[in-house]
């Protein structure tokens, strides 16, 4: 298959990446090369094959629902790009 620049532009918004029209063109070319390469997987018949998500298969792990120590607020806020005393600050979500 072949991806168009419009499709790549759409994926960029889904991926939350601002790309210039020139970057979109470069990525379209490079992604098409990789997609064409991975297309060889289509030649395998995988009917009835169970997908494998982890090499070492795991069962769900439960623990007792006990409250432990958590990160102090100041430590949690310390790396914030913008904050006030208690919160992370971001551009207004609702107008």
């Amino acid at each position: 298959m072949s991806l168009s620049t419009e499709e790549v532009a759409k994926v960029a918004v889904l991926a939350r990446l601002r790309l210039s029209p020139e970057e979109i063109r470069t990525f379209t070319e490079q992604l098409n090369a990789v997609v064409n390469y991975v297309d060889q997987l289509q030649e395998l018949d995988t009917t009835g094959v169970e997908p494998l998500a982890h090499g070492v298969e795991l069962r769900n792990v439960f623990r007792d629902d006990v409250r432990g120590p958590s990160l102090p607020r100041d430590a949690a806020l310390a790396n914030a790009p913008q904050r006030n005393r208690e919160n992370f600050l971001v551009p207004a979500v609702l107008d």
């Binding site: 990446l17 990789v34 991975v38 395998l44 094959v49 169970e50 790396n79």
Partner: protein, 495 residues
């Protein structure tokens, strides 16, 4: 102190012949003298010396000390160290200081190790050359015009150049074994779940594992023992007992049937690498191993599976870097390109921050993963990749019915030149041809030095074992180490 290993240094530290402070000063001086290698992205002199002085005081007072007491260990910059810069080689995390230690860091502290700086790496562990670091490439100590491998290139170069005796890396598709091979040292990727991933900045969660870089197997056994074990903070860490890898290392494996997969010797394998690996197999044969040809028929699909699964997981994991809670935030997110004026300011803030914070390869993989998971394509790409992943695991399981270990080259070629593959993502991806199988199947694998090319570039031998068989794996590798002295060679820069 050059040519030392952690094991020999510990003997001298415990005998009182040297102090940790002297050792650490020596390492700091060397790191400064060889700064041009760019192995470290962060080194804090005072904090490093403070740890050494604390251990020296404990020893002097006759207090019990841990199994790595006073030994410097370099840390790949993808592992969280409380209050220390942890950038993952990215501009995105240029100012990030984690508020907690990764579990492996806690274990190193408990063992008395000296946390010696953070090492350079491909951004978010995506790459095979360390050229994708926002902080410039690391140079290969054997030939400074060449790549040290990646993504853990800084950790490998630091050990190869004797800046530190041992270090930690991470391996998602070969990021420990490939740099170990091209830097002439030992690199081990443990079984998925053997080592806790808590506090490791996630790239591809079903593939990532932390493991050691060392000069020899005694050190690999020592460091693996310290970092292994179940951790309640990583639900994928395995509740398996951790054997005493050090104590059993010199015991020959009870059974030494070695499988040589014909698919590891096909097109693309450099002839000098092939001869060195074939010679290594003869060494095993002379040492009494049974050599058997085996087949891993789906090997060639490993790279396409990996380049769907890993980007898919990465696109999800890296969505957390959105300029809100930590990491880089753009200063200007006003509409810049056509169509952006219709997007919400919050979305534009995230898009601008991520565009500025991430480098080209990370963006490429996020785009590829987002595409592979997007509506209409997930079945064709992502789910098909997971099914083929099962076929690859089945191949490995079948081979281990017949043999105890699988042996082959670690990399198709010795170290290539800096810049040689930078503009061609696919050729870079092919570096992982022989290493990816172990990540997809979840099994442990090790790279050990097995020779040199005519240009004096190191060549690595890879051994793979069944899940949780690190103990026999180390013992099988030791059979080779005892018969050869490749691991004793050092680059000129280290003398």
């Amino acid at each position: 102190m050059n040519n030392a290993t952690a094991t020999t240094l510990l003997a001298r530290l415990n005998a009182g012949e040297i102090r940790s402070e002297e050792l650490v000063r020596h390492c700091l001086d060397r790191a400064e003298a060889l700064k041009r290698l760019n192995a470290f992205v962060h080194l804090d002199l005072e904090r490093t010396l403070d740890q050494a002085r604390a251990i020296d005081a404990k020893r002097a007072a006759g207090e019990p000390v841990g199994p790595l007491a006073g030994v410097p260990v370099a840390i790949k910059d993808v592992l969280c160290v409380d209050g220390e810069p942890t950038t993952a080689g990215s501009r995105m995390l240029k100012t990030f200081k984690p508020p907690y230690d990764a579990t492996v860091i806690t274990k190193l502290r408990e063992a008395g190790a000296i946390l010696f700086g953070k090492t350079n790496m491909d951004e978010f562990a995506m790459g095979s050359s360390t050229e994708n670091s926002a902080y410039g490439p690391t140079l290969n100590p054997w030939d400074e015009t060449r790549i040290p491998g990646g993504s853990s290139g800084g950790s490998a170069a630091a050990v190869a150049a004797d800046l530190v005796p041992i270090s930690l890396g991470t391996d998602t598709g070969g990021s420990i074994r490939q740099p170990a091979a091209v830097c002439g040292i030992v690199g081990l990727k443990p079984t998925y779940g053997r080592v806790s991933r808590y506090g490791m900045l996630a790239f591809a969660s079903s593939l990532d594992q932390i493991g050691p870089f060392t000069h020899d197997l005694a050190d690999a056994a020592l460091l693996l023992r310290v970092i292994s074990g179940h951790d309640g903070r990583d639900s994928t860490s395995a509740p398996e007992p951790v054997p005493d890898y050090v104590a059993s290392l010199d015991k020959r494996p009870e059974s030494l049937r070695i499988g040589v997969p014909r698919e590891f010797f096909g097109e693309g394998l450099d002839s000098e690498v092939e001869s060195a690996v074939r010679e290594a197999i003869r060494v095993y044969e002379k040492a009494g191993a049974t050599i058997k040809e085996v087949s891993l028929p789906n090997t060639k699909y490993g790279i396409p599976v990996y380049y769907l699964v890993a980007p898919a997981e990465c696109s999800s994991n890296l969505s957390r870097y959105d300029g809100t809670i930590f990491g880089h935030r753009a200063e200007d997110w006003s509409p810049k390109h056509p169509g952006e004026e219709n997007l919400h300011p919050l979305v534009r803030m995230m898009m601008a921050s991520r565009a500025e914070g991430f480098g080209a390869e990370v963006k490429r993989r996020i785009m590829l993963g987002t595409f592979a998971l997007s509506a209409g394509y997930a079945d064709q790409y992502y789910n098909q990749a997971l099914k083929v992943r099962r076929l690859i695991r089945n191949d490995v399981d079948a081979a281990f019915q017949e043999v105890d270990f699988i042996v082959g080259p670690t990399t198709p070629t010795p170290a290539f030149r800096l810049g040689e593959r930078a503009d061609d993502p696919l050729s870079m991806y092919l570096c992982d041809l022989y290493t990816i199988t172990a990540n997809l199947a979840g099994i442990p694998a090790i790279s050990i030095p097995c020779g040199f090319s005519k240009e004096n570039l190191p060549i690595g031998l890879q051994l793979l074992a069944p899940a949780f068989a690190e103990e026999p794996l180390l013992r099988a590798a030791r059979v080779f180490e005892r018969e050869t002295d490749w691991n004793a060679r050092r680059p000129a820069v280290a003398s």
